[in-house]
Assembly symmetry: C2
Homo-oligomer: 338 residues x 2
Amino acid sequence: MNRTGSRSSGRPTLTEVALQAGVSPITASRALRGVASVAPELVTRVQEAAARLGYVTNPAARALASAQGHSVVVLVPSLSNHLFIEPLEAIHEVLRPRGLEVLIGNYHYDPVEEEKLIRNYLAYQPRGLLLTGFDRTDAARQLLAASGVPRVHMMELDPAGSVPSVGFSQHAAGAAAARHLLAAGRKCLGYVAAQLDPRALARGEGFREVLRAAGCYDPSLDVLDPQPSSVGLGARQFRKLLARRPEVDGLFFCNDDLAQGALFEAQRLGIAIPQRISVLGFNDLPGSAHTVPRLTSIQTPRAAVGRQAATLLLGLLDGRSQPTCVDLGFELVSRESV
Amino acid sequence: MNRTGSRSSGRPTLTEVALQAGVSPITASRALRGVASVAPELVTRVQEAAARLGYVTNPAARALASAQGHSVVVLVPSLSNHLFIEPLEAIHEVLRPRGLEVLIGNYHYDPVEEEKLIRNYLAYQPRGLLLTGFDRTDAARQLLAASGVPRVHMMELDPAGSVPSVGFSQHAAGAAAARHLLAAGRKCLGYVAAQLDPRALARGEGFREVLRAAGCYDPSLDVLDPQPSSVGLGARQFRKLLARRPEVDGLFFCNDDLAQGALFEAQRLGIAIPQRISVLGFNDLPGSAHTVPRLTSIQTPRAAVGRQAATLLLGLLDGRSQPTCVDLGFELVSRESV
DNA sequence: CTGAAAGCGCTTACAG
DNA sequence: CTGAAAGCGCTTACAG
């Protein structure tokens, strides 16, 4: 048989399972895949044979024969800031039970790296794609369109509404932040952002718009730093901003780690939060509920985004659902720092 | 040609590249893979043809034909506690340039889930495996041994020294923690651990051993909680322990997030750190350098573990290196909390 | 240094 | 409901 040549993998094949079960390989294949048309008795016979031999489908052979991978590719801009871990876990939970492998690509906030990942992963003929936001190279856009692979975008809402997306309005979140600070009686407000991805920028837009409408927008109070977000950076930016503009009385941080750093630094500087300055975070990261003072933040539906995006993709694959735009909203969690 | 049938993937194939370049598919294959024996002129011709057509190798076909995947599987117990992100990134950096795909499996600290992942991923015929620690089911052990796939274990050192491993001695780290606290003049010491994976347990052993030798080990001062590690849990455990044993004067936490929680809670309780209680963390997570007071912690070589493990695996694949045990050590970072 | 033949382990039409 | 034939797109020996 085939097993003689050194090219065989050594693992049991479908043909061997079929032999044991006394059926043809095609029937064995159908039985294992749960194709309806197989006699129940044969199904159990095949399943037993497979179990006995410890048979596991060779994914390469399956993908080659069916011209379809059994994977869904998820592309995220980062793994290190914890933000994308929760969607990732939720995606796994939805997709794994359906027999779909989840391939994770991290492009480190670099559109060129994302384009490479898209090119590479498309070779795997994935069933679907889960992407972050809408900001990518033209080449990447073309690759995606040409591939025809169903996809859902996460974290941002499609402005046009034509591409399936699951997330919330970053702009509205920024606006809500400004309104909350204004409602707390603060007047001299700044936005402190790092990384400066499209979402942080959109929140800044929303924030500014409200301030402008309230007649208290001061561009010199904004701090936009392209460096990765971190506790240390938050502390540094807080100190610098305060030295420069001691009259500031409210700060919106684009991520909780920055805000936590500001809280630490304020304590070192002897600046009372929120008495002298209100501090508002974003994302409500683990730990923010326990800082001193407890951080007021905007909770984002990260796990829900992953879950819904995966579910929507599944619907698209089955032809059950239409491309839609799912707005999951956000929630301001009021604690002690504003 | 083949392209007529609906079974084709629609993407350009090696054969088409070969046609364009005026060579046989085999030569095209060799040229693209960088097999030495191809005439330089043909190599460039093939590469140009491939570029022109936008050819990307079909990984399924390649894996099937070569009875070898081009992936390395990395299995980690968690993604959410940030600990395993750095090794993962480092592994990517080493393996991707070599054309190896990195498949990530997260088993959520569940050996049964790890066993399933091993079974599944082995079907991909990975070139190598990167595993976390040595604690797994017997079935998993057998699968690994039977597969013959080269592997390197991370984070712990192989006690026997026969299996390749890269990490540091968890036991020694625990002992170092105890010595540091003792050297600071503390006598009433406890170990606060969560998750209770084998590594946290090993650190506890090392910690206890030193205390015992110093004649001040008190088992009732240890807090071992199987829940996931978090800032909130650290705060809770700190408060409870303090209510129960107000005389405690030094605490070693199995992870920095717990220690950070304790710092917050101490502040709320008005307990001076380190004057009344020394707090020692573990892992030196981002943020720990900025807490109030700044957290003294034990820095672990997480990125280096990933980098070295991947490098060692590469050596194993090339037959360049022998299985060895690489001890990367750890470093106590003295700040303000002890 | 290059190539014709065969095969990797599945699944897709096509029959019956 | 079941199966024989062909094919997915590569690479492995084997020649020359």
